[in-house]
């Protein structure tokens, strides 16, 4: 990986003065004129679902699965937990469920339409790709507009495609695993995604292949009132490993958009999947995502999950420890600023013996923002000698902000060793004074404390993202001292 120090690629938020002026502190909030080639009317019906499938020339099993999922979505009530007030505000009739801005998915940035390519350049994606990534997929609205993977990996049999191409080129693999980790009846939003999914990544890593450098997916919503429903499926075959990184941004609009993804990970025996996310949606985006992985014998799944933006996020990356000796880690941070609610956490199910898990959740709330940790860990009666460790820390920056924790542990096997720690802290005047006495302004001092608080998370990120996240948080601390 290129260690280029503090010089930034802006992969997550872009760096553009004029854009920043237009949208305040949220750096990725500009938007391009909408040049859609296909745009569906607002609203959802079985017809819309069939039309999406038809447009994509899908096999009939997929069409039927979509329709079944649609019916489940209609019947399924809204969740009765989380921020029910904000959830009820979602108007499913005012969302565009499919929008295509480019005719095809290109392998060369030069072939991507100018305005879309400019957007990704502004976000620093092509540059990051050249320097330190194994492959990139860039999704704009509903479809991937760019996709590429390093040749040597392709030669080793690694498949890295957008999900639509994956279904087209490898229908048997997709059929085998699709919805095997997250069934279409799992929850209302997983059903919605299954009904209208478009884009996302499909990855298969063959036995024993280690993909050394991360592959990245970047999701960009550009249009107003857009719904983005990407679907990702990653299969790591025996003894293989891969690190997948995703970033997300959208323009700041006064009306809401909906991002509702489903991610399924299958870690076959002895494999290792690490999935890192920095979600920096603008504060008009609902981010309701289902992420889950199944770990077989001695496999390891890690979710490294950063939630900085969005209006409401509800996301609890999950791991099912199905095989003996498997291991799960969920490391997450959430930042909730003005008008934001991050309801995030983790779920881990120990189904087999000698499985271990670790949850580390860090949340910061500021300027009236609200952070909630919601976690669930279960140990089944048959699973002996499991070890689980849960740590959740909250840092509250002012009186108006709020933090709640809802931890659940259901341990049905007496041999399990459980550790649980939780803390809520505030930044003290003495701590700020100490840093200020070393020449740092109040804002800089606050950013040092905040970045320090997030450090156990940032050190898990590739260097480029860590630097970026620190800068992002420093920006959030600007103008916060009253």
């Amino acid at each position: 990986m290129a260690m280029n120090g503090l010089r930034r690629t802006d992969g997550l938020m872009g760096d553009n003065l004029e854009a920043r002026e237009a949208v305040g502190d949220y750096k990725a909030g500009w938007h391009d004129p909408e040049n859609s080639t296909i745009r569906f009317d607002f609203g959802l019906s079985e017809e819309v679902v069939r039309e999406i499938s038809n447009l994509k020339n899908e096999p009939s099993w997929m069409t039927e699965m979509r329709v079944k999922a649609f019916n489940h979505f209609i019947e399924r009530p809204m969740p009765k937990w989380g921020n029910t007030h904000l959830l009820e505000e979602i108007d499913f009739d005012k969302i565009c469920y499919y929008l295509r801005s480019s005719e095809s998915t290109e392998r060369d940035w030069e072939d991507v339409p100018d305005d879309i390519r400019n957007t990704f350049e502004r976000l620093g994606i092509p540059e990051a790709e050249q320097k330190w990534l194994s492959g990139v997929t860039a999704q704009y609205e509903s479809e991937a507009v760019y996709h590429s993977i390093r040749e040597d990996l392709e030669e080793q049999g690694v498949i890295f495609l957008d999900m639509d191409s994956g279904l087209r080129d490898f229908p048997e693999i997709v059929k085998k695993w699709f919805c095997s980790v997250v069934p279409l009846t799992d929850n209302k939003f997983a059903a919605l995604n299954t009904a209208v999914w478009s884009g996302g990544s499909f990855i298969y890593v063959p036995k024993g292949v280690h993909v050394e450098m991360p592959v990245q997916a970047y999701f960009r919503i550009n249009a107003k009132n857009m719904g983005q429903f990407e679907r990702t499926l990653i299969i790591a075959d025996e003894g293989s490993s891969i690190h997948y990184v995703e970033g997300c941004t959208a323009p700041s609009y006064s009306t809401d958009s909906l991002h509702s993804a489903v991610v399924e990970l299958v870690a076959l025996p002895g494999s290792h999947i690490r999935y890192s996310t920095i979600q920096n949606w603008s504060s008009n985006v609902y981010n309701l995502v289902t992420k889950r992985g199944i770990a077989h014998e001695n496999a390891k799944i890690e979710w490294v999950d950063g939630n900085i933006g969005s209006k409401l996020t509800m996301k609890y990356p999950a791991v099912i420890l199905k095989g003996e000796g498997s291991h799960a880690e969920v490391i997450s941070v959430a930042y909730s600023g003005d008008g934001q609610h991050q309801d995030a956490g983790a779920k881990i199910h120990h189904l087999a013996s000698n499985t271990t898990s670790k949850i580390l959740s860090k949340s910061i709330s500021k300027s009236g923002g609200r952070g909630s940790y919601r976690g669930m860990v279960t140990v089944s009666p048959k699973a002996d000698n499991c070890k689980l460790n849960v740590v959740c820390d909250a840092l509250i920056l002012d009186e108006d902000s709020r933090s709640d924790t809802y931890p659940t542990m259901e341990v049905s096997n007496p041999t399990a060793r459980c550790e649980h720690e939780a803390s809520v802290s505030k930044v003290s005047d003495d701590q700020l004074f100490y840093l200020m006495s070393r020449g740092h302004s109040e804002e800089e001092s606050l950013a040092m404390i905040v970045n320090g608080f997030f450090e156990p998370f940032t050190r898990e990120l590739p260097m480029e993202y860590a630097v970026e996240l620190n800068q992002l948080m420093a920006l959030e601390m600007e103008g916060s001292i009253g």
Binding site: D430, F433, R438, H440, E442, E455
Partner: protein
Amino acid sequence: MATKPLLKISGLRAGIDDTPILKGIDLEIGQGEIHAIMGRNGSGKTTTANVIMGHPDFEVEEGEVLLEGNSLLELEAWERAREGVFLSFQYPQSVPGLQVGNFLRKSVSSIRGEDEAKGGGFRDSLKQAMESLDIPRSFLSRYVNDGFSGGEKKRFEILQLMLLKPKLAVLDETDSGLDIDGIRTVAEGVNAAIRGTDSGALIITHYSRILEHVMPDKIHVLMDGKIVASGGPELATKLEEHGYEWLKED
């Protein structure tokens, strides 16, 4: 014409939440001088240090604090730091997740300028200062004051003093919690940094041991927010023998 004193405090009254703590302090430290403040627990020593450094919780009701003739009172703590004021804290704060090496570099950069925090020059002076204070290299990747022992915290304060090269160094009970060698090391550090330069230091302490090494120009005794006695090094010995009782007014 005599040069302006490095620090001049006059008629200083300050408190917190309408409770007066400092009740009229006058103090002058010249360039190259080292002064000491002694006094009972709760007499206002740390408050004096905090007010000089600019702790936002304290309100100054009256009086002046001048550094080389310029008032500090309107400046924020970080601006005073950049003007050359340094405080070695009685209770240094920990900042989990903030690495010592990074923090030192950033502090040097904001107080002494970016160029001073760059490259080999910085690394060399850091290495030298750490060696002289017996701070292992491994501390660079630890978090600021997080899990440090009492004495390690104090050594770390002095490490910052050595790197930041302030004009005025205020040491609030830096000797408390230090072992005997540590006290000597700190005293040597302070002497080297101040004597024969245009800087100055104010050492707050309960013990004469550090003063034997530093040989302060003046010792002041603080009682209930006022300086009730000033004198040479002999004052420290007398206090050590007789306590503070004899100083009580009427």
